[in-house]
Symmetry: C2
Subunit: 188 residues, 2 copies
Protein backbone atom coordinates (compact mmCIF):
# COMPACT_ATOMS: atom_id res chain seq x y z
CA UNK A 1 0.00 0.00 0.00
CA UNK A 2 1.28 3.48 -0.86
CA UNK A 3 1.48 6.06 1.92
CA UNK A 4 1.59 9.82 1.27
CA UNK A 5 4.71 11.53 2.63
CA UNK A 6 3.84 14.98 1.24
CA UNK A 7 5.04 17.15 -1.65
CA UNK A 8 8.75 16.69 -0.91
CA UNK A 9 11.81 16.96 -3.18
CA UNK A 10 12.76 13.34 -2.65
CA UNK A 11 14.08 11.03 -5.38
CA UNK A 12 16.58 8.16 -5.37
CA UNK A 13 19.43 8.48 -6.20
CA UNK A 14 20.51 12.12 -5.95
CA UNK A 15 23.97 12.96 -7.32
CA UNK A 16 26.60 15.01 -5.47
CA UNK A 17 28.00 17.65 -7.82
CA UNK A 18 30.39 20.47 -6.95
CA UNK A 19 29.96 23.72 -8.89
CA UNK A 20 33.11 25.74 -9.59
CA UNK A 21 33.01 29.50 -10.30
CA UNK A 22 35.11 32.67 -10.11
CA UNK A 23 33.95 35.77 -8.30
CA UNK A 24 34.36 39.28 -9.72
CA UNK A 25 38.00 39.37 -8.60
CA UNK A 26 38.87 35.94 -9.95
CA UNK A 27 38.75 34.17 -6.58
CA UNK A 28 37.85 30.53 -7.18
CA UNK A 29 34.90 29.08 -5.30
CA UNK A 30 33.15 25.73 -5.07
CA UNK A 31 29.69 24.81 -3.84
CA UNK A 32 27.92 21.47 -3.56
CA UNK A 33 24.60 21.88 -5.38
CA UNK A 34 21.51 20.16 -4.04
CA UNK A 35 19.85 19.89 -7.44
CA UNK A 36 21.80 19.14 -10.61
CA UNK A 37 21.76 16.83 -13.63
CA UNK A 38 21.85 16.37 -17.39
CA UNK A 39 18.91 17.96 -19.25
CA UNK A 40 19.65 17.87 -23.00
CA UNK A 41 21.74 15.81 -25.46
CA UNK A 42 22.09 18.35 -28.28
CA UNK A 43 23.46 20.75 -27.25
CA UNK A 44 24.85 18.68 -24.38
CA UNK A 45 23.60 20.43 -21.22
CA UNK A 46 23.92 20.06 -17.47
CA UNK A 47 22.10 22.26 -14.94
CA UNK A 48 22.63 23.34 -11.39
CA UNK A 49 19.67 24.83 -9.48
CA UNK A 50 20.66 27.50 -6.97
CA UNK A 51 19.06 29.89 -4.52
CA UNK A 52 19.66 33.57 -5.22
CA UNK A 53 21.21 33.87 -1.76
CA UNK A 54 24.24 31.78 -2.74
CA UNK A 55 27.60 33.21 -3.70
CA UNK A 56 27.73 30.90 -6.71
CA UNK A 57 24.47 32.40 -8.04
CA UNK A 58 26.12 35.82 -8.36
CA UNK A 59 29.28 34.32 -9.82
CA UNK A 60 27.43 32.48 -12.61
CA UNK A 61 25.30 35.55 -13.41
CA UNK A 62 28.48 37.60 -13.74
CA UNK A 63 30.94 35.24 -15.45
CA UNK A 64 28.37 33.18 -17.40
CA UNK A 65 30.35 29.99 -16.90
CA UNK A 66 30.73 27.18 -14.37
CA UNK A 67 32.23 23.74 -13.97
CA UNK A 68 30.78 20.61 -12.38
CA UNK A 69 33.38 18.53 -10.51
CA UNK A 70 32.32 15.04 -9.45
CA UNK A 71 33.80 13.80 -6.15
CA UNK A 72 34.73 10.23 -5.21
CA UNK A 73 33.80 8.44 -1.99
CA UNK A 74 37.11 9.53 -0.49
CA UNK A 75 36.09 13.20 -0.94
CA UNK A 76 32.90 12.91 1.11
CA UNK A 77 34.15 15.27 3.81
CA UNK A 78 35.26 17.89 1.28
CA UNK A 79 32.04 17.65 -0.73
CA UNK A 80 29.97 18.03 2.42
CA UNK A 81 32.03 21.02 3.59
CA UNK A 82 31.47 22.71 0.22
CA UNK A 83 27.73 22.58 0.86
CA UNK A 84 27.88 23.91 4.42
CA UNK A 85 29.97 27.11 4.33
CA UNK A 86 29.81 30.14 2.01
CA UNK A 87 32.55 31.37 -0.32
CA UNK A 88 31.69 34.89 0.83
CA UNK A 89 33.48 34.28 4.11
CA UNK A 90 35.67 31.21 3.43
CA UNK A 91 38.31 30.12 0.94
CA UNK A 92 36.94 26.62 0.52
CA UNK A 93 39.77 25.30 -1.68
CA UNK A 94 42.36 26.40 0.84
CA UNK A 95 40.32 25.15 3.81
CA UNK A 96 40.15 21.64 2.30
CA UNK A 97 43.68 21.71 0.85
CA UNK A 98 42.34 21.16 -2.67
CA UNK A 99 43.64 22.76 -5.86
CA UNK A 100 41.65 25.07 -8.15
CA UNK A 101 42.52 24.60 -11.83
CA UNK A 102 41.49 27.24 -14.35
CA UNK A 103 39.55 25.63 -17.20
CA UNK A 104 41.21 26.18 -20.57
CA UNK A 105 37.77 26.36 -22.21
CA UNK A 106 35.47 28.31 -19.90
CA UNK A 107 35.81 31.10 -17.35
CA UNK A 108 35.61 28.90 -14.27
CA UNK A 109 37.82 26.71 -12.06
CA UNK A 110 37.47 23.03 -11.21
CA UNK A 111 38.77 20.74 -8.47
CA UNK A 112 42.02 19.10 -9.58
CA UNK A 113 41.75 16.21 -7.12
CA UNK A 114 38.21 15.15 -8.18
CA UNK A 115 38.12 12.48 -10.93
CA UNK A 116 35.61 13.98 -13.42
CA UNK A 117 34.87 17.56 -14.47
CA UNK A 118 32.38 19.12 -16.90
CA UNK A 119 33.26 22.56 -18.30
CA UNK A 120 30.21 24.67 -19.13
CA UNK A 121 29.14 28.05 -20.48
CA UNK A 122 25.79 29.43 -19.37
CA UNK A 123 23.17 28.50 -21.95
CA UNK A 124 19.95 29.48 -20.21
CA UNK A 125 18.76 30.61 -16.78
CA UNK A 126 15.25 29.52 -15.80
CA UNK A 127 13.54 31.12 -12.79
CA UNK A 128 11.45 28.50 -11.01
CA UNK A 129 10.78 29.93 -7.56
CA UNK A 130 13.21 29.57 -4.67
CA UNK A 131 15.73 28.08 -7.13
CA UNK A 132 17.02 29.32 -10.46
CA UNK A 133 18.09 26.63 -12.85
CA UNK A 134 21.38 27.53 -14.53
CA UNK A 135 21.66 25.37 -17.64
CA UNK A 136 25.19 25.08 -18.96
CA UNK A 137 26.29 23.86 -22.36
CA UNK A 138 28.97 21.23 -21.80
CA UNK A 139 32.10 22.24 -23.73
CA UNK A 140 34.18 19.28 -22.59
CA UNK A 141 34.36 16.49 -20.04
CA UNK A 142 37.78 15.84 -18.52
CA UNK A 143 38.56 12.65 -16.65
CA UNK A 144 41.53 11.67 -14.51
CA UNK A 145 43.65 9.16 -16.42
CA UNK A 146 43.65 6.80 -13.42
CA UNK A 147 39.85 6.27 -13.66
CA UNK A 148 39.70 5.64 -17.42
CA UNK A 149 39.02 2.27 -19.02
CA UNK A 150 39.38 2.13 -22.81
CA UNK A 151 39.32 5.94 -22.95
CA UNK A 152 35.98 6.20 -21.15
CA UNK A 153 35.34 6.98 -17.47
CA UNK A 154 34.97 3.82 -15.37
CA UNK A 155 32.27 4.20 -12.71
CA UNK A 156 33.86 1.47 -10.58
CA UNK A 157 37.08 3.47 -10.34
CA UNK A 158 35.33 6.83 -9.96
CA UNK A 159 33.23 5.61 -6.99
CA UNK A 160 30.80 8.57 -7.12
CA UNK A 161 28.87 9.73 -4.07
CA UNK A 162 25.12 9.35 -3.75
CA UNK A 163 23.07 11.72 -1.62
CA UNK A 164 20.09 10.32 0.24
CA UNK A 165 17.76 13.32 0.56
CA UNK A 166 15.27 11.40 2.72
CA UNK A 167 17.56 11.32 5.75
CA UNK A 168 20.45 13.49 4.52
CA UNK A 169 23.20 10.88 4.34
CA UNK A 170 25.81 9.87 1.75
CA UNK A 171 26.10 6.45 0.18
CA UNK A 172 28.56 4.77 -2.16
CA UNK A 173 27.95 2.95 -5.44
CA UNK A 174 26.93 -0.69 -5.45
CA UNK A 175 27.39 -3.56 -7.84
CA UNK A 176 26.87 -4.01 -11.56
CA UNK A 177 23.37 -5.35 -12.23
CA UNK A 178 22.76 -5.50 -15.99
CA UNK A 179 23.41 -4.00 -19.41
CA UNK A 180 21.05 -1.21 -20.45
CA UNK A 181 19.10 -1.37 -23.72
CA UNK A 182 19.65 -5.11 -23.41
CA UNK A 183 18.14 -6.82 -20.34
CA UNK A 184 14.74 -5.33 -21.21
CA UNK A 185 14.73 -7.32 -24.45
CA UNK A 186 14.95 -10.65 -22.61
CA UNK A 187 11.83 -12.74 -22.17
CA UNK A 188 10.83 -13.45 -18.62
CA UNK B 1 46.36 14.10 -15.27
CA UNK B 2 42.97 14.95 -16.77
CA UNK B 3 42.18 13.61 -20.24
CA UNK B 4 39.49 15.15 -22.50
CA UNK B 5 36.73 12.72 -23.47
CA UNK B 6 34.67 15.28 -25.40
CA UNK B 7 31.47 17.26 -24.79
CA UNK B 8 29.44 14.27 -23.61
CA UNK B 9 26.37 14.03 -21.37
CA UNK B 10 28.17 11.96 -18.76
CA UNK B 11 27.76 12.37 -15.02
CA UNK B 12 27.85 9.93 -12.09
CA UNK B 13 25.37 8.83 -10.82
CA UNK B 14 22.41 9.06 -13.21
CA UNK B 15 19.02 8.12 -11.78
CA UNK B 16 16.53 5.76 -13.47
CA UNK B 17 13.08 7.35 -13.42
CA UNK B 18 9.95 6.06 -15.14
CA UNK B 19 7.51 8.71 -16.43
CA UNK B 20 3.81 7.82 -16.38
CA UNK B 21 1.26 9.54 -18.65
CA UNK B 22 -2.13 9.02 -20.30
CA UNK B 23 -2.67 9.40 -24.02
CA UNK B 24 -5.67 11.22 -25.51
CA UNK B 25 -7.85 8.15 -25.01
CA UNK B 26 -6.76 7.53 -21.43
CA UNK B 27 -4.39 4.66 -22.27
CA UNK B 28 -1.66 4.56 -19.60
CA UNK B 29 1.96 4.64 -20.74
CA UNK B 30 5.36 4.57 -19.08
CA UNK B 31 8.77 5.61 -20.37
CA UNK B 32 12.20 5.50 -18.78
CA UNK B 33 13.62 9.02 -19.11
CA UNK B 34 17.31 9.49 -19.75
CA UNK B 35 17.45 12.87 -18.08
CA UNK B 36 15.47 13.71 -14.96
CA UNK B 37 15.90 15.18 -11.48
CA UNK B 38 14.82 17.67 -8.84
CA UNK B 39 15.23 21.32 -9.85
CA UNK B 40 13.47 23.51 -7.26
CA UNK B 41 12.48 23.33 -3.57
CA UNK B 42 9.64 25.91 -3.55
CA UNK B 43 7.53 25.03 -5.43
CA UNK B 44 8.88 21.47 -5.21
CA UNK B 45 9.73 20.54 -8.80
CA UNK B 46 11.04 17.55 -10.72
CA UNK B 47 11.82 17.59 -14.45
CA UNK B 48 11.99 15.03 -17.20
CA UNK B 49 13.76 15.98 -20.45
CA UNK B 50 12.23 14.35 -23.52
CA UNK B 51 12.70 14.32 -27.29
CA UNK B 52 9.72 15.56 -29.27
CA UNK B 53 9.65 12.19 -31.06
CA UNK B 54 8.54 10.35 -27.92
CA UNK B 55 4.96 9.35 -27.19
CA UNK B 56 5.28 10.73 -23.67
CA UNK B 57 6.14 14.18 -25.07
CA UNK B 58 2.72 14.40 -26.74
CA UNK B 59 0.97 12.99 -23.69
CA UNK B 60 2.45 15.59 -21.33
CA UNK B 61 1.70 18.43 -23.76
CA UNK B 62 -1.92 17.30 -23.93
CA UNK B 63 -2.71 16.23 -20.36
CA UNK B 64 -0.31 18.65 -18.58
CA UNK B 65 0.51 16.06 -15.91
CA UNK B 66 2.88 13.17 -15.31
CA UNK B 67 4.16 10.90 -12.57
CA UNK B 68 7.70 9.73 -11.81
CA UNK B 69 7.85 6.13 -10.57
CA UNK B 70 11.15 4.99 -9.07
CA UNK B 71 12.06 1.32 -9.68
CA UNK B 72 13.99 -1.01 -7.38
CA UNK B 73 16.88 -3.27 -8.37
CA UNK B 74 14.42 -6.09 -8.93
CA UNK B 75 12.67 -4.02 -11.62
CA UNK B 76 15.78 -3.57 -13.76
CA UNK B 77 14.34 -5.57 -16.66
CA UNK B 78 11.04 -3.67 -16.61
CA UNK B 79 12.74 -0.27 -16.34
CA UNK B 80 15.02 -1.11 -19.25
CA UNK B 81 12.11 -2.32 -21.37
CA UNK B 82 10.25 0.95 -20.73
CA UNK B 83 13.16 2.81 -22.34
CA UNK B 84 13.44 0.55 -25.39
CA UNK B 85 9.95 0.30 -26.90
CA UNK B 86 7.34 2.95 -27.70
CA UNK B 87 3.86 3.25 -26.20
CA UNK B 88 2.63 4.05 -29.72
CA UNK B 89 2.92 0.37 -30.65
CA UNK B 90 3.10 -1.43 -27.28
CA UNK B 91 1.09 -1.65 -24.09
CA UNK B 92 4.09 -1.54 -21.80
CA UNK B 93 2.20 -2.15 -18.54
CA UNK B 94 0.59 -5.27 -19.95
CA UNK B 95 3.83 -6.47 -21.58
CA UNK B 96 5.63 -6.35 -18.23
CA UNK B 97 2.63 -7.51 -16.16
CA UNK B 98 2.70 -4.33 -14.09
CA UNK B 99 -0.31 -2.39 -12.85
CA UNK B 100 -1.20 1.21 -13.79
CA UNK B 101 -2.78 3.13 -10.93
CA UNK B 102 -4.58 6.41 -11.64
CA UNK B 103 -3.21 9.16 -9.43
CA UNK B 104 -5.89 10.66 -7.19
CA UNK B 105 -4.20 14.08 -7.51
CA UNK B 106 -3.01 14.47 -11.12
CA UNK B 107 -4.16 13.27 -14.55
CA UNK B 108 -1.54 10.53 -14.92
CA UNK B 109 -0.92 6.91 -13.93
CA UNK B 110 1.93 5.42 -11.92
CA UNK B 111 3.42 1.94 -11.51
CA UNK B 112 1.81 0.19 -8.54
CA UNK B 113 4.69 -2.26 -8.07
CA UNK B 114 7.46 0.40 -7.89
CA UNK B 115 8.23 1.62 -4.35
CA UNK B 116 8.16 5.43 -4.77
CA UNK B 117 6.07 7.74 -6.95
CA UNK B 118 5.97 11.52 -7.45
CA UNK B 119 2.70 12.99 -8.75
CA UNK B 120 3.18 16.14 -10.81
CA UNK B 121 1.32 18.80 -12.77
CA UNK B 122 3.16 20.53 -15.60
CA UNK B 123 4.66 23.75 -14.26
CA UNK B 124 6.88 24.85 -17.16
CA UNK B 125 8.17 23.48 -20.47
CA UNK B 126 11.64 24.69 -21.51
CA UNK B 127 12.89 24.06 -25.06
CA UNK B 128 16.61 23.33 -24.97
CA UNK B 129 17.36 21.70 -28.33
CA UNK B 130 16.90 18.02 -29.00
CA UNK B 131 15.25 17.74 -25.57
CA UNK B 132 12.40 19.69 -24.00
CA UNK B 133 12.48 19.93 -20.28
CA UNK B 134 9.09 19.32 -18.70
CA UNK B 135 9.18 20.70 -15.19
CA UNK B 136 6.46 19.32 -12.95
CA UNK B 137 5.29 20.68 -9.64
CA UNK B 138 5.28 17.79 -7.17
CA UNK B 139 1.82 17.51 -5.62
CA UNK B 140 2.64 14.48 -3.49
CA UNK B 141 5.17 11.71 -2.99
CA UNK B 142 3.73 8.28 -2.24
CA UNK B 143 5.85 5.49 -0.82
CA UNK B 144 5.13 1.79 -0.40
CA UNK B 145 4.59 1.06 3.28
CA UNK B 146 7.13 -1.79 3.15
CA UNK B 147 10.01 0.63 2.35
CA UNK B 148 9.22 3.21 5.02
CA UNK B 149 11.25 3.76 8.17
CA UNK B 150 9.76 6.18 10.71
CA UNK B 151 7.36 7.49 8.04
CA UNK B 152 10.15 8.40 5.61
CA UNK B 153 11.37 6.39 2.60
CA UNK B 154 14.36 4.16 3.46
CA UNK B 155 16.91 4.09 0.64
CA UNK B 156 18.27 0.73 1.85
CA UNK B 157 14.86 -0.87 1.38
CA UNK B 158 14.07 0.98 -1.86
CA UNK B 159 17.32 -0.18 -3.51
CA UNK B 160 17.11 2.33 -6.40
CA UNK B 161 18.77 1.73 -9.75
CA UNK B 162 21.74 3.76 -10.97
CA UNK B 163 22.40 4.23 -14.67
CA UNK B 164 26.00 4.36 -15.84
CA UNK B 165 25.84 6.50 -18.96
CA UNK B 166 29.52 5.95 -19.78
CA UNK B 167 29.02 2.32 -20.77
CA UNK B 168 25.23 2.02 -20.56
CA UNK B 169 24.90 -0.36 -17.63
CA UNK B 170 22.83 -0.47 -14.45
CA UNK B 171 24.23 -0.55 -10.93
CA UNK B 172 22.76 -0.94 -7.47
CA UNK B 173 23.21 1.23 -4.39
CA UNK B 174 26.22 0.80 -2.15
CA UNK B 175 26.88 1.34 1.52
CA UNK B 176 26.26 4.19 3.93
CA UNK B 177 29.28 6.47 4.10
CA UNK B 178 28.50 9.50 6.28
CA UNK B 179 25.91 11.99 7.50
CA UNK B 180 25.43 15.06 5.31
CA UNK B 181 25.77 18.58 6.75
CA UNK B 182 27.85 16.90 9.42
CA UNK B 183 31.02 15.12 8.24
CA UNK B 184 32.16 18.35 6.52
CA UNK B 185 32.30 20.07 9.91
CA UNK B 186 34.86 17.62 11.26
CA UNK B 187 38.50 18.65 11.44
CA UNK B 188 40.90 16.54 9.43
Amino acid sequence: MKISVGAKTIVFPHPVFVVGTYNENGKPNVMTASWAGICCSQPPCVYVALREATYTYDNIRRRRAFTVSIPSEKHVREADYFGIVSGRTEDKFSDMKLTPVKSDLVDAPYVKEFPVVLECVLFKAVELGLHTQFIGEIKDVKVEDTVLKENMPDIEKIKPLIFNSADRTYYGMGKYLADAFSIGREKK
